[in-house]
């Protein structure tokens, strides 16, 4: 199990030595049991550091802001940034390195293993403990989570309140790290793609009905894109800024601007946005579940990305973020890649 005190000591140590610029971690906000991201640059702040089953955020997302900040500074502090990562998050770091977005020296990776547990789904938690005054969550070891309500502690099997993605996760231990807390754990998951297979078993009409209903709801707030550590492009094909029409844009210029996706949240454009999004995340999504979690209208975005994950594995034996020194999924091929579908 991860010992929080050891984790804190390490953080204090690296801050003291000036090894890192600051540390991105988790803390609790005035008495709430769910954590929030925290940026720790002073040793005293480490006292507030938390690691528990409420650490849902994929903090790797903030490396993008760090990069942008650094690019603007005249004499940037080039020391690495410390970041606390779970298994999935660590693969996101690997992808950023693989794609040359950052270098390994830009980060000091503090890995924490989820072992046989993971991160809670707040909806499942509040349902199970409806009406109770939840105060605190703790890992209780051996696939159990301790929930403190008022003054009473109850220990429940993790899978009762875990996020779906954690239940399906086979890589709970960080793949890349400078220091690791907790045990490297192999996890037996009977069928990691069970939900996807179920959706695949629907007939065409039912599949369409399912997705149409979901896509109808999208309000194109782009929260899914903003939260994703993999969506780091300066300009997105979904709302291209350089194609903005200004008062002096001529008709000819307008005609030459290709807009792949219109901004209006109508069904065809929503589908277009999400199809492109799924393609752009194929071989890159680490199933950190953040997009799914933040969607204000509860669209199961994970399923699209997870489907791509399944196909990458089935057809090409590729899992995102495992080998940063190798080419990415779609920037390479094998001569014997399957092609039964080709006429």
């Amino acid at each position: 199990m991860v010992t929080l005190e050891e984790l804190k000591d390490n953080c204090r140590q690296i801050l003291k030595e000036g090894k890192v610029k600051y540390i991105i971690g988790y803390k609790r906000k005035n008495g709430q049991y769910m954590t929030v991201p925290a940026f720790l640059d002073r040793i005293e702040e480490v006292d507030h550091l938390v690691w528990d089953p409420s650490c849902i955020y994929n903090l790797v997302r903030y490396l993008r802001d760090e990069k942008m900040r650094k690019e603007k500074e005249k004499e940037p502090d080039t020391r690495p940034v410390g970041v606390i990562v779970k298994g999935c998050d660590s693969r996101a770091v690997n992808i950023l390195i693989q794609e040359n977005y950052i270098t390994r020296d830009d980060v000091y990776i503090i890995g924490v293993s989820c072992e046989k547990s993971g991160i809670v789904d707040e909806k499942k938690l509040t349902k199970k403990f409806a009406g109770k005054d939840i105060r605190k969550l703790d890992f209780a070891g051996n696939g159990k989570i301790q929930v403190t309500c008022g003054t009473k502690n109850s220990v429940v099997p993790a899978e009762e309140i875990l996020a779906d993605r954690c239940i399906e996760c086979t890589i709970p231990t960080p793949i890349v790290f400078d220091v690791l807390f907790g045990e490297k754990t192999d996890r037996e998951v009977p069928d990691p793609f069970k939900t996807i297979k179920e959706l695949e078993s629907f007939d065409t009409t039912r599949k369409w009905e399912f997705w149409k209903e979901e896509m109808d709801k999208c309000i194109r707030c782009y929260a899914c894109r903003s939260v994703c550590p993999m969506c780091y492009c300066d300009e997105c094909v979904a709302d291209s800024i350089s194609l903005a029409v200004k008062p002096d844009t001529t008709a000819e210029e307008k005609a030459h601007k290709i807009r792949w996706v219109e901004k209006s949240p109508v069904i065809s454009e929503n589908f277009n946005y999400h199809l492109i999004r799924a393609m752009h995340l194929a071989g890159r999504c680490v199933d950190c579940g953040e997009c799914d979690r933040v969607c204000p209208v509860d669209i199961p975005l994970r399923y699209l990305n997870r489907k791509m994950e399944k196909e990458s594995l089935d057809h090409f034996g590729y899992t995102a973020g495992m080998e940063p020194e190798k080419p990415t999924l779609v920037s390479c091929f094998r001569e014997d890649d399957p092609e039964e579908f080709i006429l």
Binding site: T204, R206, F341
Partner: protein, 142 residues
């Protein structure tokens, strides 16, 4: 009385300049008969076909989309069709997953000498699309 109009599916075909487009030309100059339902779009290589092209074609009202390139090993740019094969595999799976009839999207290898193969692919494609009727799922509703 108005005659029931026969549904004529529209196929958008992205054909690489060096093989498949030449193959379709050969079909033409050899006077091979094939249904006039194709809108051919010549691209430099099957590897240059972005998924955006495909989704866009469906959005603009294609009933079926075909991506066609040189046979493996024959790509003018050596590897373009291998990259395309990976990408298109994913597109195909994705479209199927969201409930687009799999008959609406195909990929093929057609060389410059295979005019006959091209006509056959198109004829079969049209036959597959006819019973499905117009593709309205991804069609723009703006």
């Amino acid at each position: 009385m108005k005659m029931e109009e026969k549904f004529e599916p529209k196929i958008v075909a992205f054909l690489c300049k060096w093989c498949s487009s030449a193959g379709s030309d050969l079909a033409g100059v050899s006077r091979l008969k094939y249904p006039p339902n194709v809108v051919p779009i010549t691209v430099m290589c099957s590897g240059s076909v972005s998924p955006n092209y495909i989704f866009s074609a469906f959005k603009k009202g294609a009933d079926g989309v075909l991506v066609s390139g040189c046979h493996p090993g024959d790509c003018h740019y050596m590897k373009g069709n291998y990259y395309a094969r990976r990408r298109i595999t994913l597109v195909k799976e994705l479209l199927d997953f969201i409930g687009i009839e799999p008959q609406r999207f195909h990929m093929s290898w057609v060389s410059a000498a295979e005019g006959a193969k091209f006509t056959e692919i198109i004829s079969d494609f049209v036959k597959e699309l006819e019973p499905l009727g117009p593709q309205n799922k991804l069609r723009s509703n703006l």
